[in-house]
């Protein structure tokens, strides 16, 4: 028995040593293999220039229905449009260049616009793109049965003749102001005269809803819409699964999508020979879905991402890093305030709203919580331009706008207290209670509201004002705002940098998804006059009207503006930005035009 045990032990030992040795052997083999691979990679690294980015997951790349920014970042790469907008190194500014079109559009009266198309434009599968493809795409975009969310590009952004009527199913397609004069000529008729910039923007860049769609794939994916229970009838009768997977996503742009693993990664390869390909430097773009910014920063540190944004707590660590560049956001964040509240009627009191406007310590939030953001006691963000966009005159730099902007960060404790005392008296000298909604699971949003709570109560006295905080998921919060069932709540309002007037639509009385509670007739009137009425062609008066509109906002205070989210971004050293760290509207730092150095 003992002998057997010894034998067994011996055998076990032998077996183990064997397995270890075998493991070793395999390992060494693997290592050499890996080394070889590395060497091969190194040898190739002078070849294609790769740009590695982080992104968020995308549901659909159908330009007609997509409404998320993460999707637009993909679409701008893979789809082409009539024009493209790039950063021009020579003029150090933006430049429209023709992409599918032969040249910029021509117009005589600002109403009829004519595009000439290039003759050899093709989808990646070889299907040609001509004027008829565009007309068909736009017909689909406006289709009354599909009810695409992107359709507003052709009746809201620019008012194409009868586009809205066709969308509503009131007229036939023949009556819409979109015609193919021949195979390579497109004619677009507008209802009113529009500034050039609006027309150019509508038809430039691949993420716009006006980018063409691939007819065969689009039709192949078309089906009757299965109505979900409880869904309204107006949501459309048909839908298409166009561009919801790799096979169904064709490319008409500078890059083609070669890999798409949902919620994980995407790979884009350059379509050499496409009209604007020469302006873009990466030969291959690799995108990974990373939702946590801290993960992004770690990958950036390891050199696996080309760019990362650093704000708040992360910014502290990189504040003095030479690679930091600053964005200029076209969005103003703040607290919506319910001026029509039935539940908490004191909010209807203008003095209280003004007290809250002047009593918010904006720097404490923009610098204290976010470190890099800019305090904004105004409603129209700094990058918004007025007048001729080529001159780049910014609205906030005009004398008239400066005259109505509160000084500094707009924090004026004395004035705020004065207003508050009036409101307090109006409330019958009773404690005023306000609930602030903030976005759940977002640390900075929570902190922002905590700071606001503390600052307000400190300023007005916690015996007179009681602020409570309530967490909500962002979507639910916006629903609550739309229903008007709130006191105050975090929210943001973005502006079109080239047409700030148009962006004012969100404050008008009959805006469909209205989240604020301002109903001002003068404002509505001015909005109409500056976007489609008599002030369209009177630049000076148009600016004055914009100033007046902002003044009305500052008087009504449907939102207490707090900060503009100017993020700090770091680029890897191998990405040599051609804008020289300058942030441009629309194209940002133009990272895809940057010079990419070998590692």
């Amino acid at each position: 028995m003992k002998k057997f045990k010894k034998l067994l032990a011996l055998m076990l030992i032998i077996a183990m040593t064997m397995s270890i040795l075998a493991g070793c052997g395999k390992k060494t083999q693997d290592v050499t293999k890996e080394e070889e691979e590395v060497e091969v990679e190194k040898a190739e690294s002078t070849g294609p220039k790769v740009y590695r980015k982080s992104g968020m997951s995308t549901d659909t790349l159908n330009p007609h229905v997509s409404d998320s920014t993460s999707e637009s970042y993909v679409m701008e790469l893979i789809y082409g449009n009539l024009l493209d907008l790039i950063y021009d190194k020579e003029s150090e500014g933006l430049k429209f260049i023709p992409n599918h079109a032969e040249a910029l559009p021509t117009t005589e009266d600002g109403i009829t616009w004519v595009f000439k198309l290039k003759k050899d434009i093709k989808w990646t599968d070889g299907t040609p793109i001509d004027a008829n493809s565009y007309v068909w795409s736009w017909k689909m975009l406006l289709d009354p049965e599909l009810i695409n969310s992107g359709a507003r590009a052709l009746f809201d952004t620019i008012p194409v003749v009868n586009a809205l009527e066709y969308f509503k199913g009131e007229v036939e397609w023949e009556e819409v102001g979109i015609k193919a004069l021949d195979d390579y000529t497109l004619e677009i008729k507008l209802e009113t005269q529009m500034p050039e910039i609006d027309v150019l923007l509508t038809f430039s860049r691949g993420y716009q809803a006006t980018t063409p769609v691939h007819k065969e794939l689009y039709e192949a994916g078309m089906k009757e819409k299965v109505k979900k229970e409880g869904e309204e009838d107006s949501k459309g009768l048909k839908e298409t699964d166009y561009a919801t997977s790799l096979e169904k996503t064709p490319s008409s742009g500078t890059y083609k999508l070669t890999e798409w693993v949902r919620d994980q990664h995407k790979v884009y390869e350059k379509n050499t020979g496409t009209p604007v390909a020469d302006y873009y430097t990466p030969d291959r773009i690799e995108e990974r879905v990373i939702s946590e910014n801290s993960t992004r920063i770690q990958l950036f540190e390891k050199g696996e991402l080309e760019a990362v944004s650093v704000t708040g707590d992360d910014y502290e660590k990189y504040a003095e890093d030479p690679r930091i560049v600053f964005q200029e956001a076209n969005t103003v964040w703040g607290f919506y305030i319910n001026g029509k509240s039935e539940k908490n009627p004191i909010l209807q009191n203008k003095d209280l709203r003004k007290a809250l406007f002047y009593g918010i310590n904006r720097d404490a939030i923009s610098k204290g919580v976010f470190k890099v953001y800019a305090s904004s006691p105004y409603y129209i963000s700094t990058p918004c331009m007025v007048g001729d966009w080529k001159e780049g005159l910014k609205y906030r730099d005009t004398e008239k706008a400066k005259a109505i902007t509160p000084e500094g960060s707009g924090y004026n404790p004395e004035l705020a207290k004065e207003y508050f005392e009036k409101a307090y008296a109006a409330n019958g000298n009773k404690k005023i209670q306000i609930e602030i909604i903030y976005f759940e699971a977002q640390e900075t949003m929570k902190r922002l509201s905590e700071v606001a709570e503390e600052e307000y109560e400190k300023l007005f006295g916690s015996d007179k004002l009681d602020i409570t905080l309530r967490a909500m998921p962002p979507m639910a919060a916006y629903d609550t705002y739309e229903n008007g069932d709130y006191d105050m709540g975090i929210g943001a309002r973005g502006q079109n940098t080239f047409n700030a007037w148009k962006s004012m639509v969100v404050w008008t009385s009959d805006f469909p998804n209205k989240t604020d509670t301002m109903y001002n007739k003068e404002f509505d009137e001015l909005f109409k006059r500056t976007t489609q009425g008599d002030l369209m062609n009177k630049p000076e008066e148009r600016i004055e009207a914009l100033v007046r509109m902002e003044e009305i906002l500052m008087d009504e205070i449907p939102l207490i503006p707090i900060f503009q989210n100017n993020n700090a971004v770091m680029y890897q050293d191998r990405i040599k930005l051609i804008t020289g760290g300058k942030y441009m509207p629309e194209v940002g730092f133009a990272p895809y035009q940057a010079e990419i150095l070998d590692q």
Binding site: K317, E320, E453, A471
Partner: protein, 381 residues
């Protein structure tokens, strides 16, 4: 044969050989030495022998004490902000001289800025390195600075540092512990109440009542409790009361099952029968005669459930379903700390320590109680 004969002759017992030892005294039963030991006393005796449980008990007492009095130990409140003093590292008078809790931290700066920006606060340069930027080298350095000096807070001491908006972490930690403990203990008390009543009724009456009640608990228990809790909190909104209610939703099932089993065990015993024969009512049978037998298991199970609820609360807070700001709880603090773990580890470290120790202590304490109340161990040792 002869020898026996001889012996018989030699040993002869006569009457005079005997005498009365205590003819005049009365004889009583001997008294027990020591005292009679009751159930709880016996348990206590055995509990005392369990060192780990005793230590755990003291730790729990300490944390409870700190949760009550800790926030009052300095002049800061849990929501008082000092934005200019954000992310200060821990600093304790006395200890700072030993090189720990001295309010220093390492930061990365451009080398050219060291003198000008950090002159006084600089303690030492830890590391120098270069960052390549657009073809030229930028000299950078990791330096150790006195964060308090840097932020002009030389005379202040934040024992456990400050959070992102300059709130005192010490006060927040103990207030958070208070909230977490409160949620845990309240949830247990309510669960115990529901569980005891439900389990008693189900176990005592048996039959179809038991059938129906047990099917109800099975249906309830079949729903994944985490999903139920999350949906409930989403519906009710975050807060202390919703949290407690959410944990009560299905939390009482375990207790009710245990009580039911106890009732099945005791309700057929002779003393119960005797009592019933003498006309005892159901209520007194349940609460006076049977339930007290379950007191040991109830206490044990309740103690062991507390850390479970504290943990659930922390987990939900960590996932972002936490209490409404600015109220802290251990989970909320951990969620905040985790975001800045790499840069400011002190914000994660201390809440993590408190919750770990608390969980461990409650579990060891509960195990000690379980062993102490275990009747099979009675009289051993």
């Amino acid at each position: 044969m002869d020898t026996t004969k001889q012996l018989k002759e030699e040993i002869k017992i006569k009457e005079k050989d005997f005498k009365f030892v205590q003819l005049d005294e009365k004889i009583y039963d001997e008294k027990f030495e020591g005292e009679a030991i009751g159930f709880f006393k016996d348990a206590m005796l055995r509990f005392k022998k369990n060192r780990a449980a005793i230590v755990s008990g003291w730790i729990i007492a300490f944390i409870v004490f700190m949760a009550i009095f800790g926030p009052m130990m300095n002049e800061y409140t849990y929501r008082e902000q000092h934005l200019e003093w954000a992310f200060l590292p821990p600093r304790v008078p006395g200890l700072e001289k030993l090189g720990i809790f001295d309010g220093t931290k390492e930061i990365r700066v451009r080398k050219e800025n060291i003198e000008e920006k950090y002159g006084d606060a600089l303690i030492k340069v830890v590391e120098e390195y270069n960052v390549k930027h657009q073809g030229r080298d930028v000299a950078m350095a990791v330096i150790k600075v006195d964060a308090y000096k840097l932020n002009e807070a030389e005379d202040v001491y934040f024992w456990l540092g400050t959070d992102s908006i300059g709130r005192d972490q010490w006060t927040r930690l103990w207030r958070g512990s208070r909230v977490s403990l409160f949620i845990g203990v309240m949830a247990v008390i309510i669960n115990m109440f529901i569980g005891v009543v439900y389990g008693s009724v189900s176990g005592y009456y048996g039959g179809w009542i038991d059938m129906v009640l047990q099917r109800i608990t099975e249906v309830l228990g079949g729903i994944p409790s985490l999903v139920l809790i999350m949906l409930f909190i989403m519906y009710m909104g975050a807060g202390i009361i919703p949290f407690i209610l959410a944990m009560v939703l299905t939390g009482w099932i375990g207790m009710s099952r245990m009580i039911r089993a106890q009732f099945y065990k005791y309700k057929g015993q002779e003393y119960v029968l005797a009592s019933r024969t003498m006309g005892a009512k159901d209520r007194s049978l349940i609460f006076r005669h049977i339930l007290p037998n379950a007191i040991g298991p109830i206490i044990t199970q309740a103690t062991l459930a507390v850390p479970g609820f504290i943990f659930t609360e922390s987990m939900l807070s960590y996932l972002g379903l936490g209490l409404g700001a600015p109220e802290p709880s251990i989970g909320v603090l951990l969620a905040e700390g985790q975001k800045v773990l790499l840069n400011h580890p002190h914000l994660t470290l201390f809440p993590a320590m408190v919750i770990s120790i608390l969980m461990l202590a409650f579990n060891l304490f509960g195990n000690g109680l379980r062993d102490a109340f275990d009747p099979t161990l009675r009289g051993q040792e």
